[in-house]
């Protein structure tokens, strides 16, 4: 499957994937949104508002380091089910930031090809 880069929210355009998130075992509450693909991020970052919207409960904690290895905070993490192109994965996410960022703990589960020249993301 192929997805266009997002050139509305990002300049230069950036690869995004449509995802649906929910807590495992229930689709009573779910959020569907485009998420930024960021291979530099160790882990998925999810706005707390999305976590609250699906009713997720914390399951762990991690120390988070940002640019230049600067310590940001010790944060709660949650296990949330991600559905991408019909495939479901249970993924640990950290409650951080204002947009959904797909880190390597999720992206390494898939084969993804980024074609920046044509601004297309191919997903297998």
């Amino acid at each position: 499957m192929t997805y266009d880069y997002d050139n509305n929210r990002y300049n230069p355009p950036a690869p995004v994937l449509p995802v649906t998130i929910r807590i495992p075992g229930s689709n009573a509450k779910q959020v569907t949104t485009d998420a930024l693909v960021d291979t530099g991020a160790d882990m998925v970052c999810c706005p707390k508002a999305f976590i609250d919207a699906v009713g997720a409960q914390p399951a762990s904690t991690r120390q988070v380091f940002g640019v230049n290895h600067a310590f940001i905070d010790t944060c709660y993490t949650y296990f949330i089910e991600f559905e991408i192109a019909g495939t479901k994965k249970l993924v640990e996410v950290v409650a951080l930031g204002q947009e959904l960022i797909l880190g390597r703990n999720l992206m390494n589960e898939f084969a993804i090809k980024l074609n920046g020249r044509s601004q297309k993301l191919s997903f297998e």
């Binding site: 882990m43 009713g55 399951a59 010790t74 640990e92 960022i101």
Partner: protein
């Protein structure tokens, strides 16, 4: 006729009825405050808790508990008791599910059911007055005094526990737990501060699991170094090398609920998000 304080004392002294270990401090104008007794039970813990030894009984949000009174009662057949939860505990979100009557001729300790409908744990300290008992003198003696299964009870027995429904929580309690979990998203949009004040309250159960993990760590380092562990009910219940797989196993086994998954290492788990989009926010621990 409800007995007032002097009548209660007079009836006690004459031996008309009994309240063991009677305390003047528990005597109210027209009632007597029964105290938290030696034993308790909660569904989450799943066993009898020796409150006398542990000092208190903790009832977690949504949990159902049985609490025994410290006092042992003996009522004549012309006296009936009515009891209710002291308002202090009602304001904490506790609901008394048993009573309200102590039958004429009853003898023994009361074992009452409590549900915590609040979003925070309730702590009941040993010997704290928690239940008000009104005593009524009847116009005549009942023809037969109480002869039910709780006559002469002085402990929370297996039989009593077995009578509790096998479901983990009553339906109403499950609904309350789900509402508590969903409460941040039920807040009207646009109200500030948004989602980071209330969760600290509902996180208390999670914090307990996290604290239990930290307390278990010295032992776990000897037995499960380098592995992930699931702590549930303040007990290490699952181990594995893959954190997400372990989470899936736990949720499949017990449903989606409160637990803590930690890495058994000397150093805390870290992650790197080297993007300027991520800055310090209010979701931190």
């Amino acid at each position: 006729m409800i007995l007032v304080d002097e009548e209660i004392k007079k009836a006690l002294h004459s031996g008309e009825f009994e309240i063991s270990d009677f305390s003047e401090q528990c005597l109210q104008p027209a009632s007597y405050d029964l105290r938290i007794g030696e034993e308790g039970f909660t569904l989450l813990v799943g066993k009898v808790i020796p409150i006398q030894n542990e000092g208190a009984l903790e009832i977690q949000p949504g949990d159902f508990a049985l609490v025994m009174t410290h006092e042992k009662l003996r009522l004549p057949t012309n006296m009936v008791g009515h009891f209710g939860l002291r308002s202090l505990y009602a304001r904490m979100g506790l609901l008394l599910t048993s009573g309200p009557q102590v039958d004429p001729g009853f003898e023994g300790k009361l074992i009452v059911g409590l549900v915590n409908f609040s979003s925070q744990s309730a702590i009941l300290k040993y010997l704290e007055p928690f239940c008000s008992l009104e005593l009524h003198r009847l116009g005549r003696h009942a023809s037969v005094g109480y002869q039910g299964p709780y006559q002469a009870q002085e402990h929370i027995t297996k039989k009593v526990i077995d009578n509790i429904p096998k479901e983990q929580f009553p339906l109403a309690v499950m609904l309350v737990r789900q509402l508590v979990a969903a409460s941040p998203s039920l807040r009207p949009l646009g109200t500030q501060p948004s989602h980071w004040v209330e969760p600290h309250k509902m996180l208390s159960a999670f914090q307990r699991e996290k604290t239990a993990f930290e307390q278990l760590m010295p032992q776990l380092l000897k037995t499960h170094h380098g592995q992930y562990v699931v702590v549930r009910g303040e007990t290490a219940v699952l181990f594995g090398m893959d954190k997400a797989e372990l989470a899936k196993e736990a949720y499949d086994k017990w449903g989606y609920g409160v637990l803590y998954i930690g890495l058994v290492e000397e150093q805390p788990e870290v992650m790197h998000i080297p993007t300027p989009k991520i800055v310090k926010n209010h979701n931190d621990v």
